[in-house]
């Protein structure tokens, strides 16, 4: 039997969120946290959470699992449970719609703010734009982001200034386009980021790297952006 404590909040019924305790029979198996949630939903069908691919590539089921942000579908109990207890809370700092479901609007806005699409002022050729394997290799560790928000909601700088600091995910994406040899809007992109908040609120504490379910390193990407700003500004 596994003791599970889940953050509950229903906007139509609850004034305030509360923690609800469950007991789940895992059958002694090392289930994924998402499997546990399905078992909980069989007990109480009102329990609400997002899920889709269940294999860690869609980014739906980011949540705070025993104090650490992660994807429920690829977090096995053996990785997160201590003292036989599992505590599930929504991702921090963003408004809770219901139970484990948060309103990700601010997170998406920050993504959109960095103009997350390829910009190239030259007319497109009849075939693809050529790119050497070395140039392409620069995008590794960047393009794999799944927008699950685990990183940004683990970042204190994002907590305090979610509307001004772009956050690790957005900045990783910003660098993904800065680093793309096919993108020509480098100057415009950098100009948009050169203020005291957007990039420079990162203090390199690497909470983002610590929780990224895809093993990406936004801190490093932010460092690259800073260096680009540096060589542009000095």
């Amino acid at each position: 039997m596994l003791n599970v404590s889940v953050y509950r909040y229903h906007p139509e019924q609850d004034q305030k969120p509360y923690m609800q305790d469950f007991q789940v029979d895992t059958g002694g198996k090392d289930l994924m946290v998402l499997d546990v949630l399905f078992l909980l939903k069989e007990q109480d069908s009102t329990l609400t959470f997002r899920r889709s691919c269940r294999e860690g590539v869609c980014g739906s089921d980011g949540m705070n699992i025993n104090g650490v942000n992660g994807l429920a579908c690829i977090t096995p109990l053996s990785d997160c449970v201590n003292n036989g207890k599992l505590v599930l809370r929504p991702l921090p700092a963003l408004p809770v719609i219901r139970d484990l479901v948060i309103d990700m609007e601010q997170f998406y806005q920050n993504y959109e703010r960095i103009k997350p699409f390829l910009q190239n002022d030259k007319p497109a050729p009849a075939i693809e734009r050529l790119q050497s394997p070395e140039e392409r290799a620069k995008l590794d560790g960047l393009y794999e982001c799944i927008l699950c928000a685990c990183c940004s909601t683990a970042c204190p700088s994002f907590w305090w200034n979610p509307d001004k600091f772009v956050g690790p995910s957005g900045l990783l994406q910003a660098y993904r386009f800065l680093a793309d040899s096919r993108d020509t809007a480098t100057e415009e992109r950098l100009a948009e980021l050169d203020d005291p908040f957007s990039v420079f609120r990162c203090h390199g504490i690497m909470n983002c790297v610590n929780v990224c379910p895809k093993g990406l390193n936004p801190t490093k990407a932010i460092g690259h952006i800073r260096n680009m700003l540096l060589s542009r500004g000095t």
Binding site: R89, P92, I205, M206
Partner: protein
């Protein structure tokens, strides 16, 4: 849309890795040093105000426990703030941007501060 939505930000429930703790401590020691500036400036002023002032500054630092403790506290804060700052500089040059090295760097800052705190204590007393 309702603005009354709760936010999950109970800091007691969120685990913070070592580099994060070092970072917030960096800030706290910074604020402490800012507050301690008044103490440093008064002492500095005193020491340069003349032979008499220099002597009384010396006396205070040799005999007043509170002054010693403040001085020690500021030295500890200063060393932590300095080491953590150096860590930042090193990181700015692209080193220690991996999780493992960042953890090591955070540990180095803490160990260096503890060592300095002991030395500073020995020195002040």
């Amino acid at each position: 849309m309702s603005k009354n939505r709760p936010v999950n930000l109970d800091l007691r429930t969120i685990k913070q890795p070592l580099p994060a703790i070092v970072s917030i401590s960096h800030r706290i020691t910074g604020v402490m040093l800012f507050i301690g500036l008044i103490f440093m400036f008064i002492l500095f002023d005193m020491s340069l105000s003349g032979a008499e002032g220099f002597a009384s500054a010396e006396t205070i630092m040799q005999e007043n426990f509170l002054a010693k403790f403040i001085a020690w506290g500021l030295l500890v804060s200063l060393s932590f703030h300095l080491f953590a700052g150096l860590k930042h500089l090193v990181q700015d040059f692209g080193y220690g941007e991996e999780l493992s090295s960042a953890n090591v760097a955070a540990k180095v800052v803490i160990v260096a501060t503890v060592v300095t705190a002991l030395l500073a204590g020995y020195w002040v007393w």
